[in-house]
């Protein structure tokens, strides 16, 4: 009946899956990680590597007053209170714990300064030194290799198998799977002696499925995700009795570049420099239209509301915060100009209103208050007047699925008909829904993946072994 068995089967090799695997392995159990793609790491490895933590060492160093309560409040604000508060609270409370785990257990290296991302009341975001999630995924994979956790690539899980009592007992897989061909590979059944952990990510690249949840997300809208971010694992979990929650809550990223595919290098330019230290301009009018430091949903809604084409502008001072600048310039994602006139001409923006907008914005900074849109004015925010000037052309791209399957505080998957946990079945990461509500606060995803990944790993390891 079974071809092989492990104590724990983890589906997915991103932040959540690897965190879960490492926690379970730490308890001496046999663990296998199944990944359908040809490389490990999934979307996590191409993310921006931003980690939010309340009450972190850098906050202490920079004398930032923060607390899990404040982080939770920010998450609920961004999520328009659609969040399941008991789950969001766990993320906020365990955020620093998760951050320290990556530093102490995995040796992840972060930049020495905090970032103040849009939607956060205070600076609380760490960023990996390479400005990428690969800065965390690589140490995780190294650790997995050291502690003998096999990462099986090109293994597609096609079915969850429950025992007679309805508890999860194993999976049916296609080995040597060729994404996205569902017929490819060799069938095999792997048994989980203790539990199955589903950490298969979101479905931002699944154009059919996301349009089913939100018909406005038509096929021509790009995604920041890698091409494997599809919905088959979610559908499989639903077939196994999991409860779907908030599947239509799909976030678009406002910071991606029009001049490159996916998340690219432009997204981090906007996040680190364009929005916090620059201005967002409607190309038709040459004026600002939103507080650049709003959370993602507000920004996207503002950018889409009038169908406008927008750019972000920073000067020589602001661009110092953009760690991906060289790559952006090289790929033509960000363009450099000696004068605002040249910048306006190249972007076909009306010059006079643009100059006026910049002048007004600069005076807000000097007065310490944005009278127009209420952008917070931190001490290191400078007026836009030092050449050269830089611009990036923006377009919204599908970025994150807040919805997914319902889990409880122990990361157990909840059965739809009984509203009780499905035995020996856990989920974590983007596939688990409800934590971020209507819009995920930037840099809260990695934190959440690690927090709930570890919870799932620990609790799965605590299951009694099957005979």
């Amino acid at each position: 009946m079974w071809d092989e068995d492990f104590d724990i089967i983890v589906i997915g090799s991103g932040f959540a899956g690897l965190s879960a695997a490492l926690e379970a392995r730490k308890r001496g159990l046999s663990v296998v990680v199944l990944e359908k793609m040809h490389v490990p790491g999934g979307n996590s490895s191409i993310s921006g590597g931003l980690v939010a933590a309340a009450g972190s060492p850098l906050q202490a160093k920079e004398k930032v007053k923060d607390s899990p309560e404040l982080m939770l409040a920010d998450m609920l604000d961004a999520g328009h209170d659609y969040n399941f508060p008991e789950l969001a609270r766990i993320v906020a409370e365990k955020s620093t714990d998760a951050l320290l785990w990556t530093i102490e257990e995995l040796g992840v290296k972060y930049k020495p300064r905090l970032i103040h991302l849009g939607g956060h009341s205070v600076p609380r975001t760490y960023n990996t030194v390479n400005t990428s999630g690969s800065g965390i995924i690589k140490p995780m994979l190294t650790k997995c290799r050291e502690v003998d956790i096999p990462i099986r690539l090109r293994v597609f899980v096609s079915q969850l198998i429950a025992d007679e009592s309805g508890d999860m007992e194993g999976v049916e897989v296609h080995e040597d799977y060729i994404f996205p061909n569902r017929e490819s590979g060799t069938l095999k059944r792997i048994r989980a002696k203790r539990a199955v952990i589903l950490a298969a990510g979101g479905f931002s690249q699944d154009k059919k499925f996301r349009a089913l949840q939100n018909p406005m997300l038509t096929e021509d809208i790009e995604s920041t995700n890698h091409r494997g971010a599809t919905a088959e694992s979610l559908v499989m979990a639903l077939k196994a009795g999991a409860t779907p929650v908030q599947l239509s809550m799909i976030q678009l990223g406002p910071w991606a570049s029009r001049d490159e595919e996916g998340f690219g290098v432009g997204s981090m330019f906007s996040m680190l420099a364009g929005f916090p230290y620059g201005i967002l301009i409607d190309l038709n009018t040459g004026t600002r239209f939103v507080n650049e430091q709003s959370d993602r949903k507000l920004l996207v809604d503002a950018m889409l509301s009038s169908g406008l084409e927008s750019i972000a502008i920073v000067d020589q001072k602001g661009v110092l915060h953009a760690s991906t600048l060289q790559q952006c310039l090289k790929r033509g994602v960000v363009k450099q100009f000696d004068t605002i006139e040249e910048l306006a001409f190249a972007n076909q923006a009306p010059l006079v209103p643009l100059l006026e907008t910049i002048k007004a914005y600069n005076s807000f900074i000097e007065n310490g208050r944005d009278d127009e849109f209420g952008k917070p004015i931190p001490k290191d925010l400078c007026p836009i007047k030092h050449p050269p000037f830089y611009s990036i052309r923006l377009i919204s791209k599908v970025h994150h699925c807040m919805g997914g399957i319902q889990i409880n505080e122990r990361a157990q998957v909840i059965r739809i008909d009984t509203q009780q946990p499905i035995g020996r079945f856990y989920a974590a990461g983007e596939i688990a829904g409800g934590i971020h509500g209507a819009s995920r606060l930037g840099s809260a995803a990695i934190t959440e993946c690690i927090v709930f990944g570890r919870i799932a790993g620990r609790n799965a390891a605590g299951e009694s072994p099957r005979p």
């Binding site: 040809h38 490389v39 690969s134 690589k138 190294t142 290799r145 809208i221 809604d301 889409l304």
Partner: protein, 280 residues
């Protein structure tokens, strides 16, 4: 929420599409590296080899995917190659989890748009190296086996030589002198005692043989040996009478004498069983 249409930039011609499809599906890793050692293009096999998504490979410094000596080799190639020239080397590359693996990289140079580029073909040699290692191990095992056999043969040869020289020296030092003494012995009594000595020496010579000479058997007469052979062959006394044309009583007498000479008298052991494993 209204969503504006994306600017569609899919203006690729069919030939470009075909070229790109071939590039992506080739079974060897292909990377295009620019003057700053940055990877600007990578195919799917290259992603697999390094365990990195295309998004992570592109923009990465090629030197971050290999060990220090590999980087040196590459820097040398990049500095030295003229357009169209091709060089390859075996170097150690790094997988995403930090594990090193042997690879063959072939580097060429190709200039376009006023810039220099280095197309690289990367072949993961892990499987090949494993096979080579297995082959080397097997070869070594065979060689070791050969050596052992040779040693065994040598020691057998040595044993044989030792034995020969022992027999030769025994003949020279004991047997021949005894014969001479018999020849020169003045009377039958002395001769008899020398003969007994010679007999003793011959027995001792056979010590350690697989079929040691049995002193008892040597005492048997020719007729007694004949009787023994027939017993050994499983004949009854009656059969032996017929075969040797002797009376039953004579055979019984022979049997009695044989038992006496073999010192089997009074023992609960029949003659057939005793003779079974003995050479006559």
């Amino acid at each position: 929420m209204r969503i504006n249409k994306q600017l569609n930039t899919s203006t690729q011609s069919t030939s470009e599409k075909i070229l790109s499809a071939i590039f992506m599906s080739v079974g060897e890793g292909i990377l295009l590296v620019d003057e700053e050692f940055e990877i600007v293009k990578a195919n799917q096999r290259a992603c697999e080899i390094y365990g990195l998504l295309e998004q992570n490979l592109i923009g990465a410094d090629i030197r971050s995917l290999m060990d220090a000596s590999g980087s040196q080799v590459l820097e040398k190639y990049f500095g030295g190659l003229i357009e169209g020239q091709r060089m390859s080397a075996e170097i150690d590359c790094l997988y995403v989890d930090g594990k090193t693996f042997p690879a063959t990289v072939t580097v060429t140079r190709s200039d376009f748009d006023g810039k220099r580029y280095w197309p690289m073909i990367v072949r993961d040699n892990t499987d090949q190296k494993t096979l080579e290692k297995q082959l080397r191990q097997e070869k070594q095992q065979t060689e070791e086996m050969n050596l052992t056999l040779k040693t065994v043969m040598k020691s057998i040869e040595q044993d044989r030589k030792d034995f020969e020289s022992r027999v030769a020296s025994k003949i020279k030092t004991s047997l021949l002198p005894s014969l001479k003494k018999i020849d020169k012995a003045p009377d039958a009594g002395v001769r008899k005692s020398y003969l007994a000595l010679l007999e003793e020496q011959l027995f001792s010579l056979s010590a350690g043989f697989e079929n040691q000479l049995d002193a008892g058997l040597l005492k048997l007469t020719r007729t007694e040996i004949e009787v023994c052979r027939l017993i050994q062959a499983g004949c009854s006394s009656k059969d032996i009478c017929d075969a040797m044309r002797l009376s039953f009583e004579t055979i019984q007498t022979h049997r009695k004498n044989i038992r006496k000479k073999l010192a089997l008298n009074g023992k609960k052991l029949n003659l057939h069983a005793y003779l079974m494993n003995r050479v006559l």
